[in-house]
Amino acid sequence: MLQILVVCGAGLGSSFACQMSVESVLKDLNVEAKVDHSDIASAAGTSADIIISGKNFEEQFSRYDLSQDLIFLERLVDKEEIKEKLTPVLQEKGEL
């Protein structure tokens, strides 16, 4: 199953809240995926297919050289923004 990891600085607040919005968007889109959350230090070794994080982490992630699809959000709990940015990635992966 598709795996999505949501990342923030501490890995238990902002990312957890964002995870709920992501799950809600996935439900709307009728896409099945396993969503989890973590802190940025643990994100480097993830096996998730898609990583979602805040815009402020973009520079940090650019140093990690990850092969995953990366999505950066202005607003972590904005379902419209999540849907807009996640949809093309899901289409590319054949999930939509």
């Binding site: 923030c8 600085g9 501490a10 890995g11 238990l12 607040g13 902002s14 957890f16 809240a17 964002c18 709920m20 919005s21 959350h37 973590s38 802190d39 940025i40 805040g54 402020n56 982490f57 940090q60 607003r75 972590l76 709990v77 904005d78 379902k79």
Partner: protein, 146 residues
């Protein structure tokens, strides 16, 4: 949901804060007063923001100060403060007047606190909370008593 009952012990309304660091200190002071965190917790939150940017501002108008369990969290707990005047975080233009600070012991146990925060944002209640005049009205608005 004992951890999200708002009382005079964990709420301060219309607080005067000098800047974002002062606002974090004031919100976290309530957690410390209630025995949920050590005196190191606010320091770690501020250090994280200095390092990663204001990841605690998850939607316009609201910040959710928190750090890792090992950064001084003792028990699951929450506090809420509203500010008399809005403050801005570094590299973030949207002003903040509501701060919901919390402590958690692992990545998942504080699910109810996160659910409440997401509900507040999705229901568009941030401005109403910023302007709220009593704890009773706050609990009526968000159902924190249930």
């Amino acid at each position: 949901m004992k951890e999200i009952k708002f009382t005079k012990e964990n709420v301060r309304l219309n607080v005067q804060a000098d800047d974002w660091k002062d606002a974090i200190h004031q919100g976290v002071a309530l957690l410390e007063h209630n025995g949920f965190v050590t005196d190191k917790y606010a320091f770690h939150i501020i250090r994280n923001i200095d390092e990663y940017g204001p990841y605690i501002v998850i939607s316009p108008g609201i910040a959710i100060p928190h750090a890792r369990p090992e950064d001084g969290a003792i028990d699951i707990g929450v506090s809420l403060i509203t500010l008399k005047q809005s403050i801005s975080f570094p590299n973030m233009e949207t002003p903040v007047r509501v701060l919901i600070s919390f402590a958690a012991q692992d990545n998942d146990q504080h699910l109810n606190i996160i659910k409440l925060i997401v509900k507040i944002i999705e229901d568009g209640l941030i401005q109403k909370i910023a302007d709220i005049s009593s704890i009773q009205k706050l609990n009526d608005l968000i159902g924190g008593d249930e």
